[in-house]
Symmetry: C2
Subunit: 138 residues, 2 copies
Amino acid sequence: MTATVTSQTARATPPVGSVFDESCSARHALELISGKWAMLIISALWQSPMRNADLLRKIGGISQKVLTETLRDLARNGLVIRDDFRAKPLHVEYRLSPLGASLSNALIVLDHWAERNFPELDAARERYDQAHATADEQ
Amino acid sequence: MTATVTSQTARATPPVGSVFDESCSARHALELISGKWAMLIISALWQSPMRNADLLRKIGGISQKVLTETLRDLARNGLVIRDDFRAKPLHVEYRLSPLGASLSNALIVLDHWAERNFPELDAARERYDQAHATADEQ
């Protein structure tokens, strides 16, 4: 066994990053995909392409500004593709790239976790706040 | 088939939320777990309990203030348990609750996605920036 890595093996081995290392690009990738708006947009596009107005309607609370900026950021990182059909009136659709689609599978799991478990989180918060209110009174 | 929901069936059916609805607690749950620091702390605790100093060392770039606040928030929501061993010197450990452990399984998938795919995101960003720089020159 040797710890020496030749440039040959370095090329052959896929790069492995660490999200715990703040100087690693893997951390930047996690930061991009861990924003709630990025998550919700990618999840919304999971089933089919959508137009701007559809996304604005589907994702409660998102502003046009944030939607535009997040879509641009996702397109820049190769996760979302913007299809301009060069039609009049303007017809633009957003869809997931294969890379975005692979990410959406992981995000859907997280969405479902939140949708299934939020009552437990709500209950825990209530217990915690009651316990701490009691502690404060003593 | 009827759409009427009696309080009887409402109690029997597990609540289902939507992360797309900003007034739903499921969205609040997603907001809590989609912060990058919350994600990294839960992922870090995946394998074993950790002390404050261990977490500070493991998670590059986190400040003591953010670590303290995020741990408190995760404890308040029932995802992390703070064990105070009442020892001198002070010995406190943080570990995942069963709820936190179930979440960590979903988060690890996302961490691994970022660690595997960041080179593709980096390459996409480079292509996008080059294409847009060229477009700007024209």
